[in-house]
Amino acid sequence: MRRPKFSSLLFSMPALWLAAPAAAADLNVTVQIPQLNVAEYHRPYTAVWIEREDHSVAAQLAVWYAQKQSKEGAGTKWLPDLRQWWRRGGRDLALPVDAVSGATRPAGPQQLKFQSGKAPLNNLPAGKYELVVEAAREVGGREVVRVPFVWPATSAQSLAAQGQSELGAVKLELAP
């Protein structure tokens, strides 16, 4: 019969089988880095992560900092300025982290796309979370924007929060 054959196929690929129910779940983030009219502008250091209800880190999505090698190292000296990110888990990371750390981004909408079953989301357990975006700018300010969400989404959702100074709109789009 077909049934035993089918199940043996499943068991031969357990990872795929586990990922299968959530394979279509997407989590897309758009971070608007504002255009600022200031005398001395530096692109902001920015971190994007997902927090559990107890504020522990469920997933590190991105951290953008100066990559250029200087006497002080590749910009890592200033990472503690992303204060929330630093204490919530940034300081535990051995940077650079593949597919998470990268260069600072220019003003404009910065898009990030993630899928369940793949790093860094992996198999994010069902639950309540907050998307957190923190930006800190040299000779500028610092801002944290949070977007609460429930995972996995049962229907397509478009969530957003608005930054006031160092961040513009932060959009979170979820697809089941």
Binding site: A74, T76, R91
Partner: protein, 270 residues
Amino acid sequence: MLKRSLKWTALALSLTLPLAAHAHKMWLLPSATNVSGVDPWVTVDAAVSNDLFYPEHVPVALDQLVITAPDGQAAKAENTLTGKYRSVFDLHLTQPGTYKLAIVSQGVFANYELNGEKKRWRGEAVNLGKEIPAGAKNVEVSEANNRVETFVSNGKPNDVALKPSGKGLELVPVTQFTDLVAGEAATFQLLLDGQPAAGLKITAIPGSTRYRNAPEEIDSSTDKSGKFSLTWPHAGMYWINASTQDGKTEFKQARQRRLSYTATLEVLPQ
């Protein structure tokens, strides 16, 4: 002579214990408590003053400075300087983890009468016998044990350097010393000779006292396990202090032991 007189300044402070909150305060002030990168340094001020944290009285003698690296070994201060009002040193944080910076002072004090005149003496316990004249009367000896600390973490904090020595008043973390945030409660444990110090008053004063009229002192007290909590009303550098006295003297001629613990802790905004 300058160095010698500074050394005893630290101990003289502990004799003003009942007025601790109003007396001169000794402190270490690091330029940062959380650092990162390939070659991190901090620079630290060390002074005694009334206002926090403004050097306006005397500097701290750096020969009493003990720096413990995250691996528990001693680290060395660099670029040391002692000026009119403050001492300054740099610390090169070559290891990941938490550094403890401490000014540790111990000494013996004596009051006595000689030919009807009241005299005071302070110095090393071993010199007491030979430096107090044979004809001295009503000799009263006490000893002091002071510890003034601050903490800096390079990357992820650790607690190897924070192991207590078991001597005098000491603070150990429940909440990490370098992980303090405005509006969040922090819990620490105060020890006396390595044992929980119960029922002691804790005073916390935020810095920048020059720019406000009220001291904004926050009080707490230790429970029976020596633990206490403080909720920081706002971000900034805080001076926290506890003091006590007992009869557990190390030097048999001393009747009383005065102990004091001080830390400078940084609280960051949410």
